[in-house]
Structures are given as structure tokens and as C-alpha cells.
Symmetry: D2
Subunit: 338 residues, 4 copies
């Protein structure tokens, strides 16, 4: 970090600021310009958060962060790509991961039909929500534990590992009992109590980006998981909130190369939530892979027009199959396997 | 809601859509334009969420919501302003509420000094965080239950009711034991598990707006509380995320008159988080009252430059007193009491 | 459009609104719900803009637009993809267009080196700014007419058609004298005086999206060109402004499939401005093609570290060549030619 | 500016960067941290724009701007508030400026009625558009020169100075002939050709903020005017584009105290465009003054429901009078005159 002094700061001001910096255990380095003096702070940026408080001194103009504030999630600390397996499925290497399934688990028939067809089309994970975060209290809230059991049954039938969302710390155990991978949803990306508890579970984690989370904040949320002892984390870009209303969110594919530069964690893309319209899912799935994503999360429903949630953005199984067939040669061109 | 059919839709398409709408228990009303046919859906909008799924039909161009999807939070359902008392302090009437105190409870000395001076300056609630949601895992995470005890002691010393944040469902009981009002923070505004549990607690609730929450979504989160049987809710605007970086967030004062039109719930403004800089707090506090807010939440710290969180946006006690003295004649002009 | 009446509206209110709608030459269609009455407006949406004023009546809750307000730019009016040629280069068909060159024309040596190498690598247009819109008045403002002459010379040397920006109506003639295609920059997308004048020029137009222009507004700006008698328009997505600061703008690739659905106009993608960092250009160029774009605009500079503008986002000629070599098989997979 | 070197940079890298900085005429100052070396650039920030290009060197991680890039518009260069007169009306001092009138000049009857009533209610400027920037080519485009003549007649009748928009450089002379103050609209805030031409005109300028213009960019646009020799500039906040759709734009009142800190230029607020709904105008006008604005711009129309533009956000004359009566005691409390 660097501390920019106001013009007109006295030597006493500069010494006072330097003294405070040193009191936090950092070294300082002075740089006197024509108009401004800058106090550089030397040391690990992880502990420097508190220096921001110095902005409240009258003689300080601003405190500017120079380094990224995350460490374990950074590529600097861990230059190699993170790779791991979930229920035998490799993640983060050449193999493209495809997580497919309905937004909500609604019934045994629905789930089995979708899971079987998704598997046949080439999906490598089954997704499906049992606990559902719904904007309206009057909307379907999920089958809860009954839904988890159906997911476990579908895994048995298809062999696909299951990823499903957990919404509160005291449900982590029950979700972890049935699921192979815990999803932290967009609305909970900064639910730090949940992050800490999920880190402890030791289960692989799918961490969605929040709709107004910067990439830096997102990696700090991942840092909660890594610092909590859980290195098996996949990031999932799912659209951010912007002024544009032609799509439900704005899928931010720029995040893919940015994450690849800043971090070693695998990153996948969710074009279903990102666009909110099934007609745009195929184009953005292709674009996600081309941007360098390690996988995709795609909503598939046997009867989207009757779906209890997210019908407008769900693909029918045959459209999903067609998309997978298109993606295979694309993955090959990109040096990946699908 | 209305369902806009694609141009070229056949009578069979229109009948199919109408049949599906009726199957959900709604009546339909057809309107044939020159190019488009519109299927109007007649009935309570609260149950219509699921009709959005009809967008996935090939013959449907779009499904457009006409009415607000919240009910108990709406002014239509409840034309009179909501008013209630917290520990003897009236909320939502002519009296302006001022919640002041440090971002984090850091020590007995810090809290007592701030609480005493805030009270003397005219604050009507004491704020202070014991459980802190921090972006970085390496930042101070709060004194937790020890902080709650200090808050209770400060209430005893000053008589000020205490508002403090609760971050997870299984901590609601312990926070409710010490606090007079439970705060749901910006990052948890769509933590629906927490909303449900806080509703059950019966404690008054301060519901902050999320940094990318639309006013409609915010009122739906309030609806979770009201539908859960808890009518004592205050909304708190605290800044949204935009492209502008001169301020930490963009305090959206437009939300105040919008909320006053759409809802009967009291709304207060937090210029400390909204701007992120103590130098802008006074101007935006004045503007908040002038926009029609029922109160303010302001961070006050005895030594902002040593604060463990949010130092740059905290006022010193003497600046807070000066602000309160400026606000009093302003409140009077606006027909309010401070 | 539909006009939603407030609850409690009387028959007289409804008749008054209907009368006003009919006075504008439209037919009305009433739909009475349980709580709200809706006045549907039947007729061409292009003339309905003015009906928005009815929102100022006390009895009207809102006026909701149902159809897109553009006509000539819509796929409904023109189902086939628009295709045309510029200086013999086909646009909008199977052939991928690649516009490459420096942000600013700086000197003959610079431009000739870049143009020659871009051509050798497979570029199909030469881009380069002679009139430069610069945020700061102290930044390099372009070589102006001298730059135009250099562009014309580079065209003669390479055969590449030239696209360059025009910033004001009274310069359209001079720019049109040298250029094959006129570019309207992001900051001028709603400079309607300029749009009208460029439409009259009859020259093909590259219309960049503004940094906060919705897709609907962008297509309305294109409508100015089409309605002005100029059908040869290419749209160029170049990034929108969001809260994310890791990239200079947020390249919105979702716009590509949305434009393909709503309009018949060709659309290309500019990953240089969209990301602002050369390291992200290749990933987003690939993603742009995969999303369905008809081409790319890429900044190439022989010495980016000495560039007078946009150095950080410019590729060196050898990196540009490498990217083109990667894009060729990708284009083939997508059924395109490069 | 400071240049952050990548970890692992060699002494040769650092010397190479330093050499390039010195070649631009700046001095350097090295600061070696534990992980990163920082090259500080000493000298006037106005010329440093081009150093951003050094980001394209492989050894450079980032180039960070420390100082504001504008000079003449800064409070540092000009500590006293700018004050001036327009047609005898003082701007920028204690006196609150109120610019009122219709969005578009539509007819002599309309303009005269509105102007007379606005004057009677206490307005100090007459606003009204003769050249109208309209999103749709099918919307009313203004009366053009005929509108300017009506504005001049209204000034003669009421004594109110006239502010009206100019949209293109070659119309500056004709608009300046009739108007007392030239308005640069939100869509033209970065129309640099127009800024340069308006600077030359010598007329006072009202510079609206663009809908996605940062405060820094806005002040750089003002810098174009000041550097062009025209010191009489008023800034006008009129709402920025965000994700919120309950208001037409998000009026960013935070900009008022930020501008007051960074600049000496007067700043006014336009709650009509900022909110887009007449029902919110009064609240946000009050809030604007309380935030410290030097004035207001408010749309007033005798028949908003028949307005050819912006009807939904226009106040009727009697509502405007009521608002002015409310604002007077508020201005007094704030130490201003209205």
C-alpha cells in the first residue's frame, strides 16, 4: 500500500503517519514529489487492511492498495493450475466439466429423466437445487432433504457426481451427506459464516460469483475457503448486474482470462443464469469455452414451460444434446477434452 | 402479468397458452393487436411467479409483470405509515431516528466513550458490530458474544436501545438475547434462511439494502419478514454498486421517495457506508432527511485512524455533535422532530 | 404499449385515457382485472413514444412498452442477414471481418509497418484514428487530415479498406473523402446530429456501442442511419461500464446473440477496448467469434509501450499474427471463413 | 503516477522503465519492497497520460494514477468557489439558481404560459429545448431555430435568462445568438469537438454529467472548457445509469459534496431527468439543496400529459410553485438565498 499525503503536509505530519505505519509492524519508504509526499508501506499486504483507517487523518489524501489482498488463491503463491477429482471426475485439467440438470429438483420422474438424458449427452456432473434461494417468499422453496435423497438416487442411477446448493451453516452436514460438491450461490458469496462452515466440511466447493461481486472480492471469498483448509474450489461466473435489461444478468466472460491470470483455481461459466434466456445459452456456452473456461453449468429441464423455477433459461434435453455435440469439436480446437 | 405472443402465433398456440394459464388457477383476457396478441392474466400477482416459465414456449415472446410482486410490504395493502416503538423509542412517525456508534465493538473503553458522547449529541439508538462480515479472512472478525455483552452494558449506561448485526440463523437467539433490534446486513439481504429465522424471533429488524438489490427485490426480502409474522421492519438504504469510484458506494437517495410511494415501512439512510468517506457524511445525512428519510445510521468512532474497520468513513464524536446540531433546524423545517 | 390504470380509477378516468389514446390515432382495447384496468394501445409502436406522457396523469400507474421501438433495424422487418461489400471485402456473410491497426495514426513509419504486418497476418480492414476523442484535453488529439492521408497511402500500399472515426458533422465530408468506412465512436453513439449527417454520406458505417447504451438504444441509433437512407451499417460491441475494475470496460458478449435475434445487422466485437489489457485480447477475441460475431476489431501497434494512446491494450504484430493463426481453425468449426 | 514492477523484475528491467520515464521529461524515485519494486514518477500529472502505455511492457504489472488528471478545474489550483453572473443573475454564491421550463419548446402559447408562471414562482433561469437529442428518430426533434426565437421572446417577456442545448459545433453560433447560456447535454459530455467549439464561444456553459461519466471524466470535460479559455461553467448532475429500474436514472447526489471537494465550479442538480417521475422531483430537489448544490434544474410543463417529450417527469406550474415555497425556508436554514 501507499499513503498519499495532502499537499502542504508538514514533516511532523509525515513522521506521525510513518510512526503509525511502523506501529502496525510495517516498514516505510518515503518518496517526496513536487506536490505530494508518498509514504510507501513495505510488507505482506494481507495484514494491511487496517491501514485504510489512516485515510481518516486530516493530513492523508488517500491510501492506495498496490497488491492483491488475497494470497492462497493467487497464482503468485501457487503458479500451477489447481487440479482435483470429484467422485472420479477430473476438474481443472484438460477435461472440460459440464454440470447439467434442472434448477430445482421437483420430482423423481423429472430428475431421473433429466439426469439420464444429461448423462447420455455427455454431462459429467448432475446439478439440481433442493434448498432454493427465491426472491419471493411466495415462490417454490425447494423439496429440501427429500430433494437431496432424489439427487443421491439419481447419482446411483447415472454415476454422475452431484453438486447442489447449501444456504445456511447448520445445513452443511446434511447437504454434505448426500452431495459430492457443495454449491455456494451468488447471493451467499459473501455469507462469511457459510464460507467458514463449508471450508470445514472438506467437501469440494463450487463458489458462484455474486451479482455485484468484483473479481477481487470473489477471490477473497475463495480465500476464506482456502484459508479454512479446503483447497478444492471451483469458481463459477454466472452474470453480474448491469444497466442492460435485454438479458437477466450480464454474463461477464472477461472474468475468465482475468481469473486465469490472477489465480490458479479452475473457473467455469453458467450461461443459463448469466443470460436468463434459453435462446442465448448455446452461444454463450461456446463463448465461455473459447474464453478459456474449464467447464460449464447448464440448466436442463424436461418441461421448461412447467418448471417451478428458471423455466425461461432451461434447455430441453434434446437442445442440450445438440449443444454438447457442437461443443466437442470446439473443445478439441482449444486443446481440451469433452 | 401479460403474455405477449410472437407474431404469427396461431389460434391453437393462443389457446394452448390460455389453457396453461387457466390450469394455474387464473383467468385470461385476450387482446389482439395488429401484429401481436396479448394474453392478460387476471388474479393475484403473488402466485404468478411461475407463469414466467411460459417464456420457454416457442410461441411466446415475453411475459411481462404488471403489478408489484410484494403484498404485505405494499402501501396498497397498508396505506398508513408503519409506526412502532423499540425500547421506548418511536420509529416511523414524526420523530427522526438516529442510530450512531462504531462500526465494530472493539473494547469497553471505546464503546463507552462513543456511546456516551453519541447519546449526549442526541442519538436515539446505539449501533455497533459484534459479528462482522469482512471481505478478507485476514481482517478483524468482531468480538462476537463478548461484543454483545459490551453493547448490553452500554445500553444500561446510556439508555440507548441497541441495534447489531446477526449473520447466521443459529446465532439469532444469542444476538436477540442482548440486542433490541436485529440488523440484517447488505450482504445478507437475500440470505433467505436468515430472513426466515429472524422473522420468527419477533425482534424488530433493520433490513439493509444489498449493494445490487433492486428496490423491488428489497421489498420482497421485507415481505419474507412480514409474511413470517414480524411487522416491525425498518429499511436502510446504504449505497449501491455503480461504476463511480469517487465514493465507496453510490448512496441512492432516490430510493427514499420510491419506498415512500410503494411501501408503508419506515426507511432510514446510512451515509457512512453509502459514501465511504467521513467528509461526505454530513452533506448526505442532510440530503437523506430532506429526501424524506425517517432516520439516519451514522458511524462514530473516538479514534477513526485506529479503527479496526471502516475508519475512513467514521465521524469523531465532536463532528457528530456538530452534524446533529445542524440537522435539528433542518428536521423542523421538514415537519419532523429530532 | 399498455397503460396500467391505478386501482380505484373510475370509468370516467378510463374513458379520458382512452380518448387521449384515440386522439393520437391509435385504437384501444380494455382489459379489466380484479384490481387494475389495462388500456391496450393497438397500432405501430414507432409513433407511440409520446404516449409515455400519459404517465403524468394522476389516474395512470404506468405505461409499459411491449414492442421494440425500432423498425428498419429489426429482424422482424428484415428477416435475412444484411450483407454488403466494402472496397470488395464482404461483410455479414460467412467471411469473418478483421479490422486491425493502431489506435491512433502517429507517423508514416508506424502506420506502414503495422498495416503491412496486419495485412500479412490476415486482417481484412485497416483501422486507425486520425481524429481522436480523448478524455483529457492534454492528451494527443490525433494527426487529423494528415492522418487521413497516411491512411489512404496505407490502403494504396496494402489494399486494405480503411475504417476511421469521424467526430463531428462538419468533418464527415473530409473523412469520407479518404475512408472506406466511417466509424462512429462509443462517446458519439447518441450524437444524433452526427448520425443524421453520416447517414446522408452514403458511406458504410461502423457504429460502436456506447459505454452505457442499452441494446435497444443502440439499435435506435442504427435506426437513425437506416431511416436516413444508409443500409450499410455494422454494429460493434466494445464494452460497457460496470462496477468491475479489473478490466477497463466489461466486454458484453451477450450482446452478440441478442443482436442476432433482434436485428439483421452484422455485429463485430472489439476486445481491445472491451478489456483494456492486451493479455485478455486473445481470449475475448476467440470468445467473440464463438458467440457468433461477424468479425473483430483489434488494436495492433509496433511499439505499444510508446503508443500515444491505448498502448496497454494493443497487440504487437507478432502476437496479432499468432492470434489470427489460432482463430482460423476456430472460425472453420463455427462454419465461418477467416 | 507510480509504476508497479512485476515480481522478479531485474535491475535491467527497472532501469529500462526508469529510462523511458525520464525520456518523457519526468524524474523517477525508486522504492523497493519485499516483493515488488515501485517506480515513482515525479512531475505534473497533466502530461503523464502517455505513461499508461508502459503497462504494455512485460515487466510492468500496473501503472497507477495518484493525482487527479485535471488542473484548471481543481480546487487545488483555484481554492475559491467560482462565481459569475449570467444576464445579471448571480451563480455560484449564496443565491440558489433555479432553471425551470419545459423539456421542449413546443409553441408560443406553451412557452409563454410556462415561463410566466415559472418566473412568478421564483425561477431565475428559463430552460427549454429547441434542438432535442431524441433516442428514437421517430420522436419529435425540436422546433430548432424557431424554438430559439420563442425562447428569446420569452426572455423579453419575463426577464429570465435563457439556457438551451446545443448539439453540434456548427450550430454554436446560432444558439449563442439567442441564448444566455449554452447547455451541453448528457449524451454530449464527451463530444470533444463540441466542447472545444463551445469554449471558444465565450458564452457561459451548463455542462451536464453523462449517464456513465465518472466524476473525474466529467471534470476533464470541464477542463476542455476551461483550457479553451471559458471559465464560466456550471456542472449539472442529472442521474447516472445503474441496475435500478424504479427510477429512469439514479440521481447521484453524492456527486455534489465530491465536486465541492475536488473543484471550485458551481454544481446544480436536475431531479427531473434524474428520477424520471414527477412524483419524486420535490423530494430530490430538497435533497439536492441539502447536499450542497448551488441550484436546481426542473422541468415544468403546463400540460405534461400532452408534452412532446419528458411529460412523465414534468411538474405542472402549480406544483412547481408549491415546491419553490417549500424550498425557500430550506435554503435559509442552509445559509443560502432563494
Amino acid at each position: 500500500m501507499i499513503i498519499v499525503m495532502k499537499p502542504g503536509s508538514t514533516d511532523a505530519d509525515i513522521e506521525e503517519v510513518s510512526r503509525r505505519v511502523r506501529a502496525f509492524g510495517f516498514k516505510t519508504h518515503l518518496s517526496r514529489g513536487e506536490v505530494r509526499t508518498i509514504v510507501g508501506v513495505v510488507g505482506d499486504d494481507r495484514g494491511k487492511e487496517q491501514l485504510l483507517a489512516l485515510q481518516s487523518l486530516e493530513c492523508v489524501e488517500s491510501v492506495v492498495r498496490i497488491l492483491q489482498p488475497f494470497k492462497l488463491a493467487s497464482r503468485e503463491a501457487h503458479p500451477e493450475d489447481t487440479q482435483f477429482q470429484v467422485h472420479g471426475v477430473p476438474v481443472g485439467g484438460k477435461q472440460i466439466v459440464v454440470m447439467a440438470g434442472p434448477c430445482s429438483v421437483e420430482s423423481r420422474e423429472q430428475l431421473m429423466e433429466v439426469a439420464t438424458k444429461a448423462k447420455a449427452a455427455g454431462a459429467t456432473f448432475l446439478r439440481g437445487g433442493a434448498f432454493k434461494p427465491r426472491t419471493s417468499p411466495y415462490a417454490f422453496q425447494g423439496l429440501e432433504e427429500e430433494g437431496l435423497k432424489l439427487l443421491a438416487d439419481a447419482r446411483k442411477a447415472t454415476g454422475l457426481p452431484v453438486v447442489t446448493e447449501v444456504m445456511q451453516p447448520d445445513k452443511v452436514d446434511v447437504v454434505a451427506e448426500y452431495a459430492d460438491m457443495l454449491q455456494i450461490g451468488a447471493r451467499n458469496v459473501q455469507n462469511f459464516s457459510l464460507l467458514k462452515r463449508v471450508a470445514e466440511s472438506g467437501k469440494p466447493v463450487l463458489l458462484k460469483r455474486g451479482m455485484s461481486t468484483t473479481i477481487q472480492e470473489w477471490l477473497l471469498s475463495a480465500e476464506y475457503l482456502l484459508a479454512g483448509g479446503n483447497p478444492r474450489v471451483i469458481l463459477c461466473e454466472r452474470g453480474i448486474r448491469t444497466f442492460e435489461t435485454a438479458t437477466r444478468f450480464t454474463l461477464d466472460l472477461n472474468a475468465v482470462p482475468v481469473i486465469k491470470k490472477l489465480s490458479h483455481l479452475p473457473v467455469i461459466v453458467d450461461p443459463s443464469h448469466g443470460t436468463g434466456h434459453w435462446e442465448y445459452v448455446a452461444a454463450m456456452a461456446r463463448a465461455g469455452l473459447a474464453a478459456g473456461a474449464d467447464g460449464l453449468m447448464i440448466e436442463v429441464h424436461n418441461k421448461p414451460e412447467e418448471a417451478l423455477s428458471d423455466g425461461p433459461q432451461s434447455l430441453k434435453p434434446d437442445r442440450f444434446k445438440k449443444l454438447m455435440d457442437e461443443l466437442r469439436p470446439l473443445a478439441q480446437i482449444l486443446g481440451r477434452i469433452l
